[in-house]
Symmetry: D2
């Protein structure tokens, strides 16, 4: 069957999460550069169609703990180091989605769908 | 409202498309390396949860036309140079999605949803 | 033969340029998000060893011209849309390097080496 | 001072290493997909100017050990999971360079320079 509008809205939300993660995973990051990276990720993804807002929280405590146990004073951005929330507005349908650690896996999920 | 299973399945499809595009966009590519890149992209994305199959077709004619008009003998992978089809199988729901050029924009879309 | 210190310094400069380009190429960008992306790229790359400073100039005029001729109101970052300058300081050796368009190719080059 | 040919050759080697790492870091990878990814990385980077050969060895034992301790059956490619060797041939100067783990850090280094 053809997709419904809410299904297409959820597809759009997924695109933005995959984009966000795989565009920026691997970026050299430290507590001194995390604030500018948060802003740049938010504004980059908000360029994409139907993306009403993105909030990225790079977890400076998790970063600091990582740096404490290694030789270099920066690391690579990955799911363990950020929480993300996003609102998609697609043809009158509003999708909230988020990413956070679920045990050892960075879980992306749809939190709510309102048509 | 909480998402339905088909909505979550569409979200998963979107994640894979965003991943595929933004992990591999920018890869140096030419007609001699496009076959290995197709296979690697397919197998990389098929690692992700709920991804039943991925087919990537790098458009060698479009690549050749691009190289014909420029000084370097390779270019960077972008949406103009590939078609993608994908099957997602999420908790009994099957989603078909694809990416192809729509005018000048690489359009990702849900083609069908079967629960 | 083993590399000299200035040769290693140039290798380090090259690493930073390859990192910068291929980490951020493909990022969705528009004139409204280019300033935050410039800052984030600079601060990300300055995390890497021996990188004294990075200056990224995203070319808003080139971006605007690109958007003027297409359907979407953002594009993907690529070499045509940025100039980069970098200083590497490696064991007493200073390397200046830069990236700018050379015809249709984003040329990365070593501008000077001072030991 | 202007760079010498061997210094420029080392810069070119560095570009290829930064490209390789940051284009492909984050790619979903498992022991079943590592062979196609090795080939695609090698052929992608060999497209770049002055790159005579690239050999990528994705470390299946290290991958298997990582998967053994986590919930998902794939992980993201990063420096811990690959060794790389590269030959650059730039205006008669041959540079050998490699990447391997040095303690907890993926160290890229120039192994030899022959003019």
């Amino acid at each position: 069957m053809d997709p419904t509008t809410p299904q297409e809205a959820c597809f759009e939300a997924g695109i933005k999460f995959g984009t966000l993660y795989h565009q920026f995973a691997g970026t050299p990051v430290s507590p001194t550069s995390s604030a500018s990276l948060e802003t740049a990720i938010e504004e980059a993804i908000e360029n994409q169609p139907f993306c009403a807002s993105v909030t990225v929280d790079i977890l400076d405590d998790a970063l600091a703990a990582e740096l404490d146990g290694q030789s270099a004073d920066y690391t690579e951005l990955t799911g363990r180091f950020m929480d993300v929330e996003m609102d998609i507005d697609y043809e009158g349908c509003r999708v909230r989605a988020s990413m956070a650690m679920d045990g050892d896996y960075p879980r992306m999920r749809v939190d709510s769908v309102e048509s």
